[in-house]
């Protein structure tokens, strides 16, 4: 599969290869349903966009890649290890931003939420707290530290989730629709922040604009690779297919 140098990236001085990802004939059944079906791909770009219809398996793939669930069959490797088997390595290597912030937040207050991951990395209490506060202040949100997560708006929760992941400084961040529900300034701010992120990014999104500067695109369809390659080539094809589907008056053509 082609690896394309990230010409548009605002962080050109960085190495152009990222975290190596290898999937070989990966299948996943959930409750008898084949959600991921013979998925094979190999890539190590720094910026990989993932597109596909609702229910095509994008979030499931993100869970597989971060080692939260195991494959039913097939081989999966991230940076040379299996993230489900080797949790310790996975934790240092991969951070996952969940699609639904309510599925990610564990603790009652914002500071606890941010500190948790850092403590898990082995930082002691004071260090973890210091670093968590630093993260908060990098986004101008120090005043959120004692706020209850449940009292935040949807977009605010999303930001908390992102900060907790970024604070752990993984080499690969998997973002499952990170911008859904964020307001324009926060989104742009975040986008700029992610652009300077020196590690690898896998970004799942329904919005083509979000994936503009991405080297490669992975297009999933019904748990299988529909296309993988240069985003300049794939995005137009994807959009054409989607708009055509959207225009059709036979609504029953819609996603499974």
């Amino acid at each position: 599969m082609c690896i394309i140098n990230n010409i548009n990236s605002p962080a050109e001085e960085l190495t152009t290869t990222g975290c190596a990802i290898r999937l070989d004939q990966v299948c996943l059944d959930i409750e008898g349903k084949q959600v991921i079906n013979q998925l094979s791909l190999e890539t190590n770009v720094r910026r990989l966009g993932v597109i596909g219809r609702n229910g095509s398996g994008k979030s499931t793939l993100s869970r597989l890649l971060s080692g939260l669930i195991d494959t039913t069959s097939g081989q999966l490797e991230i940076a040379g290890f299996n993230p489900f088997k080797d949790r310790r390595a996975a934790l240092r290597e991969v951070g996952l931003l969940f699609q639904n912030p309510d599925h990610q937040i564990i603790f009652p207050t914002v500071l606890e939420e941010l500190t948790f991951g850092l403590r898990q990395l082995g930082q002691d209490k004071t260090d973890a707290k210091k670093n968590a506060l630093e993260m908060l202040s990098a986004f101008g949100k120090e005043h959120w530290q004692d706020v209850h997560c449940s009292a935040l708006s949807h977009g605010q929760k999303h930001l908390v989730c992102l900060m907790s992941i970024v604070a752990m400084k993984p080499n690969l961040i998997i973002l499952d629709e990170p911008f859904a529900g964020l307001d324009i300034p926060t989104k742009r701010q975040l986008q700029r922040y992610l652009d300077t992120f020196s590690g690898s990014l896998i970004h799942i999104s329904h919005d083509p604009d979000d994936l503009q500067n991405y080297d490669q695109l992975l297009w999933l369809e019904a748990g299988q690779v529909a296309a993988l390659g240069d985003s300049n080539e794939i995005m137009p094809r994807y959009l054409a297919a989607m708009y055509e589907l959207g225009e059709s008056d036979d609504i029953s053509d819609l996603s499974r």
Binding site: L68, R87, A90, I106, P108, F116, Q120
Partner: protein
């Protein structure tokens, strides 16, 4: 969803739920007035035959739900062996398996909505005391919704934990889980309210 319901449709599915439940209560109650081990042994055989009638798949499914009784059975028998009342022990075990087996049989062949209709009918006399059968109906539906939801929220929470930790969550997950459950209840309350809650319109 609590999946005691049978994967195959049986003839008993079409019998009135009230009748099945009524019979079940009568028989379960009656079992306590017989002490004969032979009777209980034969009755258990009868229950097994009932499970076998609708075919192999039904039998296998029923067995899955009855299997969980074996540690109880084992321990009761063991204890009675120690106290030297082996026969009493076996009787108690036979009776227990028959009673639970029958109850499961009714559950497996009765749609929940039919079950709720029976409860509705049973509580009708209470209506005059200001009791709202609608509230009970809703509450039943909600428990049936929430039990599996709680379990999957628990699993979700462990995923969230796993995503940022290589240690097991252990007891520290209890408070987040409880808070999550309470929040879920708040959301359900709001969602219910958004669609009328108990102020549902008159039924035709």
């Amino acid at each position: 969803m609590i999946s005691l319901t049978s994967p195959v449709e049986t003839r008993a599915h079409h019998w009135p739920a009230g009748l099945k439940l009524g019979l079940l209560s009568l028989v379960s109650f009656g079992l306590f007035f017989v002490d004969s081990i032979i009777f209980h042994g034969l009755f258990l055989l009868f229950v097994v035959v009932l499970y076998a009638l609708p075919g192999a798949l039904f039998f296998k499914n029923g067995w899955k739900h009855l299997k969980i009784l074996w540690p109880f059975a084992f321990i009761i028998v063991l204890w009675h062996l120690i106290t030297g009342e082996a026969e009493l022990g076996l009787t108690v075990v036979f009776r227990m398996i028959s009673a639970v087996g029958l109850a499961n049989l009714v559950t497996m062949t009765t749609r929940l909505s039919d079950m709720i209709d029976v409860v509705h009918w049973l509580t009708c006399p209470l209506q005059r005391l200001g009791f709202k059968p609608r509230a009970l109906e809703l509450a039943i539906a909600l428990v049936i919704r929430m039990t599996p939801v709680l379990i999957s929220k628990g699993q979700n929470l462990t995923l969230a934990w796993r995503a940022r930790s290589n240690r097991r969550s252990g007891w520290r997950i209890i408070l987040p889980f409880t808070v999550l459950a309470l929040d879920d209840a708040d959301h359900v309350a709001e969602a219910l309210k958004a669609r009328g809650g108990l102020t549902n319109q008159e039924r035709k």
